[in-house]
Protein backbone atom coordinates (compact mmCIF):
# COMPACT_ATOMS: atom_id res chain seq x y z
CA UNK A 1 0.00 0.00 0.00
CA UNK A 2 0.97 3.54 -0.35
CA UNK A 3 2.16 4.09 3.16
CA UNK A 4 5.45 3.17 1.70
CA UNK A 5 5.50 6.10 -0.62
CA UNK A 6 5.54 8.20 2.46
CA UNK A 7 8.15 6.01 4.03
CA UNK A 8 10.36 6.60 1.07
CA UNK A 9 9.82 10.28 1.40
CA UNK A 10 10.68 10.06 5.06
CA UNK A 11 13.94 8.41 4.14
CA UNK A 12 13.11 5.10 5.79
CA UNK A 13 14.84 2.08 4.36
CA UNK A 14 18.44 2.29 3.37
CA UNK A 15 19.93 1.22 0.09
CA UNK A 16 20.50 -2.38 -0.96
CA UNK A 17 20.17 -4.04 2.40
CA UNK A 18 16.67 -3.00 3.32
CA UNK A 19 13.85 -5.40 4.03
CA UNK A 20 10.14 -4.68 3.72
CA UNK A 21 8.02 -6.09 6.50
CA UNK A 22 4.25 -6.26 6.47
CA UNK A 23 2.57 -5.63 9.80
CA UNK A 24 -0.84 -4.59 11.09
CA UNK A 25 -1.26 -0.89 11.76
CA UNK A 26 -4.46 -1.06 13.69
CA UNK A 27 -3.96 -3.69 16.39
CA UNK A 28 -2.82 -2.13 19.60
CA UNK A 29 -0.40 -4.40 21.41
CA UNK A 30 0.41 -6.43 18.28
CA UNK A 31 0.99 -4.16 15.40
CA UNK A 32 0.07 -0.53 15.69
CA UNK A 33 1.31 2.58 14.02
CA UNK A 34 0.35 6.20 14.12
CA UNK A 35 1.40 8.37 11.22
CA UNK A 36 5.15 8.27 10.82
CA UNK A 37 5.86 7.26 14.35
CA UNK A 38 7.71 3.97 14.79
CA UNK A 39 5.30 1.05 14.93
CA UNK A 40 4.76 -0.81 18.19
CA UNK A 41 3.50 -4.19 19.38
CA UNK A 42 4.44 -7.81 19.89
CA UNK A 43 4.61 -8.69 16.18
CA UNK A 44 6.78 -5.68 15.54
CA UNK A 45 9.14 -6.53 18.34
CA UNK A 46 9.42 -10.16 17.25
CA UNK A 47 10.10 -9.01 13.70
CA UNK A 48 12.86 -6.71 14.90
CA UNK A 49 14.42 -9.44 16.99
CA UNK A 50 14.27 -11.99 14.19
CA UNK A 51 15.72 -9.55 11.70
CA UNK A 52 18.42 -8.56 14.12
CA UNK A 53 19.40 -12.19 14.31
CA UNK A 54 19.50 -12.20 10.52
CA UNK A 55 21.82 -9.22 10.54
CA UNK A 56 19.51 -6.32 9.81
CA UNK A 57 19.70 -3.03 11.64
CA UNK A 58 16.47 -1.43 12.69
CA UNK A 59 16.88 1.37 10.16
CA UNK A 60 17.06 -1.15 7.37
CA UNK A 61 13.49 -2.25 8.02
CA UNK A 62 10.66 -0.73 6.06
CA UNK A 63 7.29 -1.18 7.67
CA UNK A 64 4.25 -1.63 5.47
CA UNK A 65 0.65 -2.10 6.43
CA UNK A 66 -0.68 -5.48 5.40
CA UNK A 67 -4.40 -5.69 6.13
CA UNK A 68 -5.77 -9.18 6.67
CA UNK A 69 -7.40 -9.73 3.24
CA UNK A 70 -4.37 -8.54 1.32
CA UNK A 71 -1.60 -10.49 2.92
CA UNK A 72 -1.20 -13.30 0.37
CA UNK A 73 -1.39 -10.84 -2.48
CA UNK A 74 1.25 -8.62 -1.05
CA UNK A 75 3.62 -11.53 -0.76
CA UNK A 76 2.80 -12.83 -4.21
CA UNK A 77 3.26 -9.43 -5.78
CA UNK A 78 6.48 -8.73 -4.00
CA UNK A 79 5.07 -5.78 -2.16
CA UNK A 80 6.63 -7.14 1.03
CA UNK A 81 9.47 -9.45 1.80
CA UNK A 82 7.89 -10.94 4.88
CA UNK A 83 4.82 -10.53 7.03
CA UNK A 84 4.51 -10.49 10.80
CA UNK A 85 0.84 -9.78 11.14
CA UNK A 86 -1.03 -12.20 13.39
CA UNK A 87 -0.71 -14.51 10.44
CA UNK A 88 -2.09 -17.97 11.26
CA UNK A 89 -0.54 -20.81 9.35
CA UNK A 90 -3.28 -22.65 7.45
CA UNK A 91 -3.20 -25.18 4.64
CA UNK A 92 -5.18 -22.92 2.37
CA UNK A 93 -2.73 -20.07 2.78
CA UNK A 94 0.21 -22.39 2.56
CA UNK A 95 -0.78 -23.08 -1.03
CA UNK A 96 -0.16 -19.51 -2.02
CA UNK A 97 2.66 -18.45 0.31
CA UNK A 98 5.29 -19.98 2.51
CA UNK A 99 5.49 -19.78 6.28
CA UNK A 100 8.29 -19.82 8.76
CA UNK A 101 7.69 -20.21 12.48
CA UNK A 102 5.37 -20.33 14.25
CA UNK A 103 6.78 -17.93 16.78
CA UNK A 104 3.66 -17.90 18.92
CA UNK A 105 0.59 -20.06 19.51
CA UNK A 106 -2.61 -18.12 19.89
CA UNK A 107 -6.14 -19.48 20.17
CA UNK A 108 -9.36 -18.11 18.85
CA UNK A 109 -11.56 -16.63 21.50
CA UNK A 110 -14.53 -14.33 21.88
CA UNK A 111 -14.78 -10.76 23.11
CA UNK A 112 -18.08 -9.59 24.62
CA UNK A 113 -19.38 -6.64 26.58
CA UNK A 114 -18.54 -6.84 30.27
CA UNK A 115 -22.20 -7.22 31.21
CA UNK A 116 -22.77 -10.07 28.77
CA UNK A 117 -23.20 -13.36 30.60
CA UNK A 118 -24.98 -15.57 28.07
CA UNK A 119 -22.06 -16.08 25.73
CA UNK A 120 -19.58 -18.47 27.17
CA UNK A 121 -18.30 -20.09 24.02
CA UNK A 122 -18.81 -20.19 20.28
CA UNK A 123 -21.87 -22.46 20.59
CA UNK A 124 -23.79 -19.64 22.25
CA UNK A 125 -23.55 -17.43 19.19
CA UNK A 126 -26.53 -18.89 17.32
CA UNK A 127 -28.94 -16.09 16.51
CA UNK A 128 -26.50 -13.48 17.76
CA UNK A 129 -24.48 -10.95 15.82
CA UNK A 130 -20.79 -11.49 15.37
CA UNK A 131 -18.15 -9.23 13.93
CA UNK A 132 -14.83 -10.16 12.45
CA UNK A 133 -12.41 -9.07 9.81
CA UNK A 134 -12.84 -9.58 6.09
CA UNK A 135 -10.96 -12.60 4.84
CA UNK A 136 -9.90 -13.90 8.23
CA UNK A 137 -10.41 -17.51 9.34
CA UNK A 138 -11.99 -16.97 12.76
CA UNK A 139 -15.34 -15.81 11.57
CA UNK A 140 -15.76 -18.62 9.07
CA UNK A 141 -14.65 -21.04 11.80
CA UNK A 142 -17.42 -20.01 14.09
CA UNK A 143 -20.06 -20.22 11.44
CA UNK A 144 -18.88 -23.51 10.03
CA UNK A 145 -18.20 -25.34 13.24
CA UNK A 146 -20.22 -23.95 16.07
CA UNK A 147 -23.11 -21.70 15.15
CA UNK A 148 -24.57 -21.79 11.66
CA UNK A 149 -27.23 -19.24 12.50
CA UNK A 150 -24.89 -16.51 13.52
CA UNK A 151 -25.25 -13.16 11.70
CA UNK A 152 -21.80 -12.29 10.54
CA UNK A 153 -20.54 -8.84 9.63
CA UNK A 154 -17.06 -8.49 8.28
CA UNK A 155 -15.07 -5.29 8.50
CA UNK A 156 -11.71 -4.11 7.30
CA UNK A 157 -10.31 -3.84 10.80
CA UNK A 158 -11.07 -4.82 14.38
CA UNK A 159 -11.53 -1.28 15.55
CA UNK A 160 -14.83 -1.08 13.67
CA UNK A 161 -15.91 -4.30 15.32
CA UNK A 162 -15.22 -2.77 18.70
CA UNK A 163 -17.33 0.27 17.98
CA UNK A 164 -20.11 -2.03 16.85
CA UNK A 165 -19.73 -4.09 19.98
CA UNK A 166 -19.74 -1.01 22.12
CA UNK A 167 -22.87 0.39 20.51
CA UNK A 168 -24.63 -2.98 20.74
CA UNK A 169 -24.91 -3.66 17.01
CA UNK A 170 -22.98 -6.86 17.44
CA UNK A 171 -22.87 -9.11 20.49
CA UNK A 172 -19.43 -10.55 20.07
CA UNK A 173 -16.16 -10.09 18.27
CA UNK A 174 -14.05 -13.05 17.51
CA UNK A 175 -10.43 -13.51 16.71
CA UNK A 176 -7.27 -14.64 18.39
CA UNK A 177 -7.15 -14.26 22.15
CA UNK A 178 -4.03 -12.15 22.13
CA UNK A 179 -5.55 -9.66 19.70
CA UNK A 180 -8.72 -9.45 21.72
CA UNK A 181 -6.70 -8.89 24.85
CA UNK A 182 -4.82 -6.05 23.27
CA UNK A 183 -8.02 -4.45 22.06
CA UNK A 184 -9.80 -4.82 25.38
CA UNK A 185 -6.86 -3.21 27.12
CA UNK A 186 -6.74 -0.05 25.01
CA UNK A 187 -7.46 3.21 26.79
CA UNK A 188 -10.59 3.93 24.79
CA UNK A 189 -12.40 0.82 25.93
CA UNK A 190 -10.88 0.11 29.32
CA UNK A 191 -13.35 -1.89 31.39
CA UNK A 192 -16.02 -2.21 28.72
CA UNK A 193 -15.17 -5.60 27.27
CA UNK A 194 -13.98 -8.95 28.45
CA UNK A 195 -12.41 -11.95 26.74
CA UNK A 196 -14.57 -15.01 27.35
CA UNK A 197 -11.46 -17.03 28.07
CA UNK A 198 -11.97 -20.38 26.41
CA UNK A 199 -9.91 -20.55 23.28
CA UNK A 200 -11.37 -23.07 20.86
CA UNK A 201 -8.74 -23.24 18.15
CA UNK A 202 -5.00 -23.25 17.78
CA UNK A 203 -3.61 -20.36 15.82
CA UNK A 204 0.06 -20.80 15.08
CA UNK A 205 1.42 -17.36 14.19
CA UNK A 206 3.84 -17.76 11.35
CA UNK A 207 6.04 -15.48 9.33
CA UNK A 208 4.59 -15.10 5.87
CA UNK A 209 7.10 -15.42 3.05
CA UNK A 210 6.83 -15.53 -0.72
CA UNK A 211 6.23 -19.02 -2.07
CA UNK A 212 9.50 -20.88 -2.56
CA UNK A 213 11.78 -18.64 -0.51
CA UNK A 214 13.33 -21.58 1.36
CA UNK A 215 16.53 -19.81 2.19
CA UNK A 216 14.88 -16.96 4.08
CA UNK A 217 12.53 -19.44 5.67
CA UNK A 218 15.36 -21.36 7.14
CA UNK A 219 17.09 -18.23 8.36
CA UNK A 220 13.90 -17.07 10.03
CA UNK A 221 13.28 -20.43 11.63
CA UNK A 222 16.78 -20.46 12.99
CA UNK A 223 16.31 -17.03 14.49
CA UNK A 224 12.97 -17.95 16.01
CA UNK A 225 14.39 -21.08 17.54
CA UNK A 226 17.12 -19.04 19.16
CA UNK A 227 14.72 -16.40 20.45
CA UNK A 228 12.48 -19.05 21.93
CA UNK A 229 15.29 -20.85 23.55
CA UNK A 230 16.74 -17.79 25.20
CA UNK A 231 13.32 -16.58 26.39
CA UNK A 232 13.31 -13.40 24.33
CA UNK A 233 9.89 -14.12 22.88
CA UNK A 234 8.36 -14.55 26.31
CA UNK A 235 9.91 -11.30 27.41
CA UNK A 236 8.56 -9.47 24.39
CA UNK A 237 5.12 -10.91 25.01
CA UNK A 238 5.18 -9.87 28.61
CA UNK A 239 6.30 -6.38 27.69
CA UNK A 240 3.49 -5.96 25.20
CA UNK A 241 0.68 -7.34 27.32
CA UNK A 242 1.65 -5.48 30.44
CA UNK A 243 -1.35 -4.55 32.48
CA UNK A 244 -3.68 -6.81 30.55
CA UNK A 245 -5.37 -9.77 32.13
CA UNK A 246 -3.91 -12.21 29.66
CA UNK A 247 -2.09 -15.48 29.98
CA UNK A 248 -0.71 -17.14 26.91
CA UNK A 249 -1.65 -20.77 26.53
CA UNK A 250 1.42 -22.18 28.22
CA UNK A 251 0.90 -25.77 27.21
CA UNK A 252 1.00 -24.94 23.54
CA UNK A 253 3.65 -22.29 23.70
CA UNK A 254 6.17 -24.23 25.72
CA UNK A 255 7.12 -26.63 23.00
CA UNK A 256 6.42 -25.09 19.62
CA UNK A 257 7.38 -27.21 16.69
CA UNK A 258 8.71 -25.19 13.79
CA UNK A 259 7.61 -25.93 10.24
CA UNK A 260 9.98 -27.54 7.84
CA UNK A 261 10.89 -25.11 5.13
CA UNK A 262 10.41 -25.96 1.46
CA UNK A 263 7.59 -28.49 1.83
Amino acid sequence: TEDTAEDDAAGGGGGGGSVTVGIKYDQPGLGFREGNNPPTGFDVDVAKAVLAEMGYQEDQIEWVESPTPQRENMLENGQVDMIFATYSITDERDERVDFAGPYFMAGQDILVRTDENDIKGPEDLNGRNLCSVTGSTPAQNVRDMYADEVELVEQDGYSECLTFLQSGQVDAVTTDDIILAGLAASDEYAGEFKVVGSPFTEEPYGVGLPEGDVETCEQVNEAIQKLQDDGTIDELLAANTEGVDYEANAELNDNIELVTCGE
Binding site: T4, P28, N36, D156
Partner: protein, 311 residues
Amino acid sequence: MSTQYVLFDAPGPRSRRIITILNILVALIVIGVLVWVYQALAAQGQMSPHLWWNAINTNAWVNYLLPGLTFTLQAAAIAVVSSVVFGLFFGFLRLAPVRILRWISMVIVEFFRAVPVLVLMVFLHFFFSQYLSNVIDPRNSAYYAVIVALTLYNGAVIAELVRAGVRSLPAGQREAALAVGMTTTKSLRYVEVPQALVAMLPSLVSQFVIILKDSALGYIIGFSELLRYSRHLGAGYGNIMQALVVAAIIFIIINSLLVQLAQMLSRRLSSRTSGVTEVGIPGIAPIAGDTVEDEATETRAQAIIQQDKRK
Protein backbone atom coordinates in the same frame (compact mmCIF):
# COMPACT_ATOMS: atom_id res chain seq x y z
CA MET B 1 -39.27 40.48 -6.21
CA SER B 2 -37.06 40.93 -9.20
CA THR B 3 -36.20 37.23 -9.43
CA GLN B 4 -38.36 35.46 -11.95
CA TYR B 5 -39.63 31.99 -11.31
CA VAL B 6 -40.77 29.97 -14.28
CA LEU B 7 -43.11 27.94 -12.18
CA PHE B 8 -44.36 30.56 -9.78
CA ASP B 9 -46.13 33.82 -10.29
CA ALA B 10 -45.12 36.93 -8.38
CA PRO B 11 -46.70 36.37 -4.96
CA GLY B 12 -49.62 38.42 -3.70
CA PRO B 13 -50.40 39.11 -0.04
CA ARG B 14 -51.91 35.69 0.63
CA SER B 15 -48.98 33.88 -1.01
CA ARG B 16 -46.62 36.05 0.96
CA ARG B 17 -48.36 35.00 4.16
CA ILE B 18 -48.10 31.36 3.16
CA ILE B 19 -44.45 31.83 2.33
CA THR B 20 -43.79 33.37 5.73
CA ILE B 21 -45.56 30.51 7.48
CA LEU B 22 -43.62 27.96 5.45
CA ASN B 23 -40.39 29.74 6.26
CA ILE B 24 -41.12 29.53 9.96
CA LEU B 25 -42.21 25.91 9.63
CA VAL B 26 -39.08 24.91 7.77
CA ALA B 27 -36.91 26.71 10.29
CA LEU B 28 -38.66 24.87 13.14
CA ILE B 29 -38.29 21.51 11.41
CA VAL B 30 -34.63 22.11 10.70
CA ILE B 31 -33.99 23.13 14.29
CA GLY B 32 -35.98 20.12 15.49
CA VAL B 33 -34.04 17.70 13.34
CA LEU B 34 -30.73 19.19 14.43
CA VAL B 35 -31.72 18.94 18.09
CA TRP B 36 -32.89 15.37 17.59
CA VAL B 37 -29.69 14.36 15.86
CA TYR B 38 -27.67 16.05 18.57
CA GLN B 39 -29.54 14.23 21.29
CA ALA B 40 -29.37 10.90 19.54
CA LEU B 41 -25.62 11.32 19.21
CA ALA B 42 -25.26 12.58 22.75
CA ALA B 43 -27.17 9.57 24.01
CA GLN B 44 -24.55 7.45 22.30
CA GLY B 45 -21.83 9.41 23.98
CA GLN B 46 -20.75 10.66 20.57
CA MET B 47 -20.89 14.32 21.49
CA SER B 48 -18.29 14.16 24.21
CA PRO B 49 -15.76 16.86 23.42
CA HIS B 50 -12.65 14.74 23.67
CA LEU B 51 -13.83 12.49 20.81
CA TRP B 52 -14.20 15.51 18.59
CA TRP B 53 -11.06 17.11 19.86
CA ASN B 54 -9.12 13.96 19.08
CA ALA B 55 -10.33 14.18 15.50
CA ILE B 56 -9.06 17.73 14.99
CA ASN B 57 -6.11 18.20 17.30
CA THR B 58 -2.53 18.54 16.18
CA ASN B 59 -1.92 14.82 16.38
CA ALA B 60 -4.91 14.13 14.12
CA TRP B 61 -3.76 16.64 11.55
CA VAL B 62 -0.08 15.80 11.59
CA ASN B 63 -0.34 12.04 11.69
CA TYR B 64 -3.55 11.34 9.83
CA LEU B 65 -5.47 14.07 8.07
CA LEU B 66 -2.63 15.94 6.42
CA PRO B 67 -0.77 12.84 5.20
CA GLY B 68 -4.04 11.41 3.88
CA LEU B 69 -5.02 14.69 2.28
CA THR B 70 -1.59 14.95 0.71
CA PHE B 71 -1.99 11.60 -0.98
CA THR B 72 -5.51 12.40 -2.08
CA LEU B 73 -4.51 15.74 -3.54
CA GLN B 74 -1.33 14.37 -5.06
CA ALA B 75 -3.13 11.55 -6.84
CA ALA B 76 -5.92 13.88 -7.94
CA ALA B 77 -3.54 16.54 -9.19
CA ILE B 78 -1.49 14.10 -11.24
CA ALA B 79 -4.68 12.55 -12.59
CA VAL B 80 -6.00 15.99 -13.56
CA VAL B 81 -2.91 16.85 -15.56
CA SER B 82 -2.65 13.49 -17.25
CA SER B 83 -6.33 13.29 -18.03
CA VAL B 84 -6.20 16.72 -19.64
CA VAL B 85 -3.36 15.52 -21.84
CA PHE B 86 -5.21 12.29 -22.64
CA GLY B 87 -8.44 14.22 -23.20
CA LEU B 88 -6.92 16.83 -25.51
CA PHE B 89 -5.21 14.16 -27.54
CA PHE B 90 -8.25 11.99 -28.06
CA GLY B 91 -10.54 14.99 -28.32
CA PHE B 92 -8.65 16.32 -31.31
CA LEU B 93 -8.37 12.85 -32.73
CA ARG B 94 -12.14 12.73 -32.65
CA LEU B 95 -12.19 15.84 -34.83
CA ALA B 96 -9.55 14.49 -37.16
CA PRO B 97 -10.32 14.46 -40.87
CA VAL B 98 -9.40 10.77 -41.16
CA ARG B 99 -12.36 8.56 -40.48
CA ILE B 100 -10.43 5.63 -39.02
CA LEU B 101 -8.74 7.86 -36.46
CA ARG B 102 -12.11 9.22 -35.40
CA TRP B 103 -13.35 5.68 -35.02
CA ILE B 104 -10.46 4.44 -32.96
CA SER B 105 -10.65 7.34 -30.60
CA MET B 106 -14.41 6.97 -30.36
CA VAL B 107 -14.14 3.33 -29.32
CA ILE B 108 -11.48 4.10 -26.74
CA VAL B 109 -13.37 7.04 -25.33
CA GLU B 110 -16.68 5.21 -25.17
CA PHE B 111 -15.14 2.17 -23.54
CA PHE B 112 -13.56 4.08 -20.71
CA ARG B 113 -16.70 6.09 -20.15
CA ALA B 114 -18.83 2.97 -19.83
CA VAL B 115 -16.64 1.03 -17.41
CA PRO B 116 -17.03 1.91 -13.72
CA VAL B 117 -13.90 3.59 -12.39
CA LEU B 118 -13.74 1.17 -9.50
CA VAL B 119 -13.65 -1.81 -11.86
CA LEU B 120 -10.78 -0.17 -13.72
CA MET B 121 -8.98 0.55 -10.49
CA VAL B 122 -9.29 -2.99 -9.13
CA PHE B 123 -8.06 -4.39 -12.40
CA LEU B 124 -5.14 -2.00 -12.73
CA HIS B 125 -4.16 -2.60 -9.14
CA PHE B 126 -3.75 -6.32 -9.76
CA PHE B 127 -2.34 -5.77 -13.20
CA PHE B 128 0.40 -3.42 -12.06
CA SER B 129 1.51 -5.56 -9.18
CA GLN B 130 1.44 -8.69 -11.30
CA TYR B 131 2.89 -7.63 -14.62
CA LEU B 132 4.56 -4.29 -14.12
CA SER B 133 6.31 -4.96 -10.83
CA ASN B 134 9.66 -4.13 -12.37
CA VAL B 135 8.42 -0.76 -13.63
CA ILE B 136 6.18 0.22 -10.78
CA ASP B 137 7.13 -0.57 -7.24
CA PRO B 138 4.42 -3.07 -6.29
CA ARG B 139 3.97 -1.29 -2.99
CA ASN B 140 2.74 1.70 -4.95
CA SER B 141 0.56 -0.18 -7.35
CA ALA B 142 -2.67 0.97 -5.70
CA TYR B 143 -1.49 4.56 -5.97
CA TYR B 144 -0.76 4.22 -9.66
CA ALA B 145 -3.91 2.22 -10.24
CA VAL B 146 -5.89 5.14 -8.81
CA ILE B 147 -4.09 7.67 -10.98
CA VAL B 148 -4.29 5.68 -14.19
CA ALA B 149 -7.93 4.69 -13.70
CA LEU B 150 -8.88 8.29 -13.00
CA THR B 151 -6.88 9.41 -16.02
CA LEU B 152 -8.51 6.96 -18.39
CA TYR B 153 -12.05 7.73 -17.26
CA ASN B 154 -11.73 11.47 -16.90
CA GLY B 155 -9.56 11.73 -19.97
CA ALA B 156 -12.38 10.13 -21.92
CA VAL B 157 -14.82 12.63 -20.47
CA ILE B 158 -12.51 15.52 -21.29
CA ALA B 159 -12.08 14.22 -24.82
CA GLU B 160 -15.82 14.65 -25.16
CA LEU B 161 -15.61 18.14 -23.68
CA VAL B 162 -12.98 19.14 -26.21
CA ARG B 163 -15.02 17.87 -29.09
CA ALA B 164 -18.18 19.43 -27.76
CA GLY B 165 -16.26 22.66 -27.15
CA VAL B 166 -15.19 23.00 -30.77
CA ARG B 167 -18.59 21.87 -31.99
CA SER B 168 -20.46 24.32 -29.83
CA LEU B 169 -18.77 27.31 -31.43
CA PRO B 170 -21.10 29.05 -33.83
CA ALA B 171 -20.24 28.28 -37.46
CA GLY B 172 -19.83 32.03 -37.96
CA GLN B 173 -16.50 32.04 -36.13
CA ARG B 174 -14.95 29.66 -38.61
CA GLU B 175 -16.62 31.40 -41.52
CA ALA B 176 -15.30 34.75 -40.40
CA ALA B 177 -11.81 33.32 -40.09
CA LEU B 178 -12.03 31.80 -43.55
CA ALA B 179 -13.40 35.05 -44.90
CA VAL B 180 -10.30 36.99 -43.83
CA GLY B 181 -8.28 34.46 -45.79
CA MET B 182 -7.22 31.96 -43.15
CA THR B 183 -6.82 28.33 -44.12
CA THR B 184 -8.84 25.77 -42.14
CA THR B 185 -5.78 24.90 -40.07
CA LYS B 186 -5.13 28.53 -39.24
CA SER B 187 -8.75 29.01 -38.37
CA LEU B 188 -8.60 26.05 -36.00
CA ARG B 189 -5.38 27.27 -34.50
CA TYR B 190 -6.04 30.96 -34.06
CA VAL B 191 -9.79 31.11 -33.69
CA GLU B 192 -11.59 27.89 -32.86
CA VAL B 193 -9.33 25.94 -30.54
CA PRO B 194 -8.47 28.94 -28.34
CA GLN B 195 -12.13 29.68 -27.88
CA ALA B 196 -13.03 26.05 -27.28
CA LEU B 197 -10.36 25.83 -24.61
CA VAL B 198 -11.58 28.96 -22.92
CA ALA B 199 -15.12 27.63 -23.04
CA MET B 200 -13.99 24.34 -21.54
CA LEU B 201 -12.10 25.75 -18.59
CA PRO B 202 -14.99 25.85 -16.15
CA SER B 203 -15.97 22.30 -17.01
CA LEU B 204 -12.37 21.24 -16.55
CA VAL B 205 -12.32 22.73 -13.10
CA SER B 206 -15.49 20.94 -12.16
CA GLN B 207 -13.98 17.76 -13.56
CA PHE B 208 -11.32 18.25 -10.91
CA VAL B 209 -14.09 17.85 -8.34
CA ILE B 210 -15.05 14.50 -9.83
CA ILE B 211 -11.45 13.36 -9.84
CA LEU B 212 -10.97 14.38 -6.24
CA LYS B 213 -14.11 12.56 -5.19
CA ASP B 214 -13.29 9.46 -7.19
CA SER B 215 -9.84 9.29 -5.69
CA ALA B 216 -11.62 8.09 -2.55
CA LEU B 217 -12.47 4.91 -4.46
CA GLY B 218 -8.83 4.10 -3.90
CA TYR B 219 -9.85 3.33 -0.32
CA ILE B 220 -11.46 0.15 -1.56
CA ILE B 221 -8.27 -1.11 -3.19
CA GLY B 222 -6.16 -0.09 -0.23
CA PHE B 223 -4.76 3.22 -1.39
CA SER B 224 -4.00 5.19 1.75
CA GLU B 225 -5.82 8.39 1.03
CA LEU B 226 -7.77 10.72 3.25
CA LEU B 227 -10.61 8.31 3.92
CA ARG B 228 -8.33 5.45 4.95
CA TYR B 229 -6.21 7.68 7.11
CA SER B 230 -9.24 9.06 8.87
CA ARG B 231 -10.47 5.54 9.45
CA HIS B 232 -7.12 4.79 11.05
CA LEU B 233 -7.53 7.89 13.14
CA GLY B 234 -10.96 6.73 14.24
CA ALA B 235 -9.64 3.26 14.95
CA GLY B 236 -6.84 4.54 17.10
CA TYR B 237 -8.98 6.89 19.19
CA GLY B 238 -12.37 5.23 19.20
CA ASN B 239 -13.87 8.14 17.29
CA ILE B 240 -14.62 6.69 13.90
CA MET B 241 -17.67 8.85 13.45
CA GLN B 242 -15.88 12.07 14.31
CA ALA B 243 -12.93 11.20 12.11
CA LEU B 244 -15.13 10.40 9.12
CA VAL B 245 -17.15 13.57 9.61
CA VAL B 246 -13.95 15.59 9.60
CA ALA B 247 -12.82 13.86 6.40
CA ALA B 248 -16.19 14.56 4.78
CA ILE B 249 -15.97 18.22 5.77
CA ILE B 250 -12.49 18.48 4.29
CA PHE B 251 -13.82 17.09 1.01
CA ILE B 252 -16.78 19.44 1.09
CA ILE B 253 -14.65 22.50 1.67
CA ILE B 254 -12.13 21.73 -1.06
CA ASN B 255 -14.78 20.77 -3.57
CA SER B 256 -16.96 23.79 -2.82
CA LEU B 257 -14.00 26.03 -3.45
CA LEU B 258 -13.41 24.29 -6.77
CA VAL B 259 -17.06 24.61 -7.73
CA GLN B 260 -16.98 28.28 -6.92
CA LEU B 261 -13.86 28.70 -8.99
CA ALA B 262 -15.61 26.95 -11.88
CA GLN B 263 -18.62 29.21 -11.60
CA MET B 264 -16.49 32.30 -11.39
CA LEU B 265 -14.52 31.22 -14.45
CA SER B 266 -17.71 30.51 -16.30
CA ARG B 267 -18.95 34.05 -15.61
CA ARG B 268 -15.61 35.70 -16.32
CA LEU B 269 -14.88 33.79 -19.46
CA SER B 270 -18.27 33.88 -21.09
CA SER B 271 -17.38 37.20 -22.73
CA ARG B 272 -14.12 35.80 -24.04
CA THR B 273 -15.48 33.06 -26.20
CA SER B 274 -18.40 32.48 -28.44
CA GLY B 275 -18.59 28.95 -27.05
CA VAL B 276 -20.73 27.91 -24.12
CA THR B 277 -19.00 28.24 -20.76
CA GLU B 278 -21.89 26.76 -18.76
CA VAL B 279 -20.70 24.17 -16.28
CA GLY B 280 -23.73 21.95 -16.66
CA ILE B 281 -24.30 19.64 -13.73
CA PRO B 282 -20.92 19.30 -12.07
CA GLY B 283 -20.22 15.73 -11.14
CA ILE B 284 -22.02 13.94 -13.91
CA ALA B 285 -20.38 13.19 -17.20
CA PRO B 286 -22.32 13.36 -20.45
CA ILE B 287 -23.71 10.04 -21.58
CA ALA B 288 -22.31 7.60 -24.03
CA GLY B 289 -25.22 7.51 -26.42
CA ASP B 290 -25.25 11.12 -27.47
CA THR B 291 -21.90 10.84 -29.15
CA VAL B 292 -22.35 7.63 -31.05
CA GLU B 293 -24.94 9.08 -33.30
CA ASP B 294 -23.10 12.35 -33.80
CA GLU B 295 -20.64 10.47 -35.88
CA ALA B 296 -23.24 10.30 -38.62
CA THR B 297 -24.15 13.96 -38.68
CA GLU B 298 -20.85 15.67 -39.05
CA THR B 299 -20.56 19.07 -37.55
CA ARG B 300 -21.17 22.06 -39.71
CA ALA B 301 -17.58 23.07 -39.11
CA GLN B 302 -16.35 19.68 -40.21
CA ALA B 303 -18.52 19.80 -43.26
CA ILE B 304 -16.73 22.94 -44.27
CA ILE B 305 -13.31 21.37 -43.77
CA GLN B 306 -14.42 18.45 -45.84
CA GLN B 307 -15.82 20.77 -48.43
CA ASP B 308 -12.57 22.62 -48.73
CA LYS B 309 -10.62 19.43 -48.92
CA ARG B 310 -12.82 17.72 -51.45
CA LYS B 311 -12.95 18.74 -55.09
